[in-house]
Amino acid sequence: MATYFNRFFIEFEDSHYVNPIMYRIDIMDSEGGTPTNPIQLQASGTPLITTIVTENESKDAAIIGSEITISYLYTGDPNEPLPVLFFDTNERRFRVEIRKDGVLDNVYYLKPDFSSYPYLAAPFDVQLKAVDGLSYAKSVLFNVYGDDQLLKYDKISWYEAIMTRALLLIVDADTKINVLNSLYPTNIATGVKLLFGCFIHTDIVYDFVTGAQKVRDVLFMFAKALYARIFIEHNQIWFIRSQDLTFPTFTVEQYISSTVVNDVPMPDMIRTIGPSSAYDGEPVGMDGEVSVQPAIKEAEYEVTYKGINLLSNFDWSIFDGTDFANWVRKDALPTGIGIVVSRTGTGTIADPYMLYIPFDQPPSGLKYLQQIVSSITGAGGIFEISFQYEIFNCKSFALFVRAGNVLTPDQRFVLDSSGAWIFDGGETATLGIAKAGKKTKGSFTFKSFPLPTSFPDGSTVPSVADVELSIFQPREETTDDGPGPAYIKIGRIKIGGITASAIGRRLIIKNGADFSQVKDSEEFTFIDTGENGLSNTIFTGASLLPVDDWDSAKTAVEPGDIEQHMAKAVIDQYRKSPYTFEGTIYSNSLSYFNLLEFLHLPGRRFMQLTRTVDHQQCEIKTLAAEVLEEGAAIVNYEEFDIDEEKD
């Protein structure tokens, strides 16, 4: 992260009539000359507004960013920055630190595209917008690389996935994450906390064609799985499972680093709202409204299975100058004519290693292959292939995929271009890849039909079959791409095995109560199939085995798979129409994570969904929705396989 120095600041005191707070807004620059004494800018009428930015106004909004609007008075004084200083910059140049009574409250980054100033003679108010790290998470890629700059293709802890390789790329290195969650895998190691004791495989956040996922999308996977919300407040990350907001008292797991976690009580989690300063907030204005959000009758979720790569040395990292480890030629030298391979690239993130196969003269059919003996997938399983390639001055190349008992001629199937498995009758079926006109770079993704369960002779295809992937040398040399040799280059290559005769699964959950709203189908990521070979699996325990059931200490909660808890949560929280409060609350001490209890709405507890805070006026305009009890809904839950649909 860049080094920032303090360049401008704004100070103001809010108008709270009991406990006014002194605010200081520091605008810090990462560019320019020697740091000088910061220049004070005059706060204008509404110096600081904070707005919550969410994808929807529902309790299931997962990633919740916040945005501030700073206003200062530009008088034309030469010491004051021209408004354009903040306009013609990139988004991370100016960092904004907000302090309340001297304590760092939050960090934002100026976003030039929403800032404005009037086209008038000075003095006038300049409005600057700044966003917190989560907004930036939309554009930052998950760090899927190791210190050696090679792909980190392995199981990593949730802490590593959520913090080390994701959020810590966009927030300060010492940022803590507070987790409120009572749902734990039943087979997690004793005494180990959630983010340290649960693991994912990085395959789920990496695509061999499109690359690493965005940080925001990765966070979304986790939040969705637990019906949790992720947001930044008081310069800390909050991961709060909404189903757990019904406890009488609260303790969060506060992860300080990749090794340290503490239980931190939250004595002020619940705030009361009433008509005097004895309460934590007072309703003001005549726009307060109690309403309801519609209950949900039915919700549907879909997951697409993703197999973990079966190939070794798939990133071409182990190379002795002639051969890649684990890969072999069909006709090995010196006894026969073998395919010539070499390696390009420097092995960095920007320039990864690639397999290089030059165009060669006949004999045709030279290929480079890897056999996986007893893969984790077999009869009935689906195989997926994906990689990036370059093809230069030649027209096509082909893959050849076999599965079964690969070493036995009449005990194996070959994958054809329709995705079907045909009995191996002489290596005729290949997956051809043709160059697209003058495009020299391309990608290939392919999913097979389920592998047959028996061979033509009636013998059984093993449940852990052998798999063989071969890459043929390129064909049809041309000069279309200009001077230079003809070749193909293959990037990191994956053949993943899905141990199921389906490409995914659909969940449908129905509310037993009579309502009519059906939620649009949503995609999700983590599913507890218990399959080691799927990267949709969450792993746990010392041996990093698939998660068994998830359970919480609550009596109303039955042990179940994570996706069942996820689906139940959406009905639990909308099993009936939850109350909402929409209105303005006078306070300068209500945090977004605070739960609200209103004097005149007894027995109900509200979580804040959206809000806009005018800090100087101490006015919080909020939409808050009632938290409903976990496990109270009567539901009908069903799961279905999603089958491959190929023409």
Partner: protein, 258 residues
Amino acid sequence: MQVIQGRHFILAFMKNGQPVPVCYATDFTIQMQRDVKERSGPQGKDRDYIPAYKGYTITVSGVVSYIDGYSFIDLEDAFNSGVRLDWRGRDKDNGGVVHGGTVILTNLAWASPVRGDFSFESSAIGCGPKTRELLPTVSTVYLADENRIRLVGCPNPYPVSLFWYNGNTDTIGAFIGIALNADDVISQYNNYLGNDYYTITIGITGCDFNLLSEWNAPFIPTVIFAEAAPSLGLWTGEDDEGISNDQVNDNLISPGYA
């Protein structure tokens, strides 16, 4: 009851670091406003508020003078430049309640009616708090008899009988005690039970004192009432002659023989 007459209120703007009375200002008004937020909720039908921001505006009108005090020219310059003006207003030359603050002139109007004086009106909006200082009044007093005549024997008329004031008037009142010297006067005067507002300190002679009167003192004394030769007699200044001040016992002792 103390009534302050409007004409005693003098408004001054700061000019070159000094308060300068505003030319021939006649009328001054100040309007202070407080914003409120209305509490809401179903607790009742009575309106209830939370205090929020406050501010004030002032208006000044007067007769236009181009040269005297803070002149109309100064006012117009201030208006044109939009400068923030520090103002002070008070009804006493010395001490008392001093109002003040910083304003920006928002309105300046002048008129030259054919049958009247060339006059102006202005209004200004307060920036920041309206200040109020409560300052003691500084004056000098001396030991005097009931007719406010400097005590015979000054600068050293001691010992003397000290007297307080009569109610809230600058006339002789109750007996305080006997003072043998100026320090004694200070101690007895300052510590007198009936003294809520006044503090004296040593002055230029043994008979003179500096007086600090609190901002809310009901009146500003001009003298400290005293009689020489307390409860003894007053030396006439000649030989052994003396005049008793004690008409009952007729005691008389010459200080020279005491």
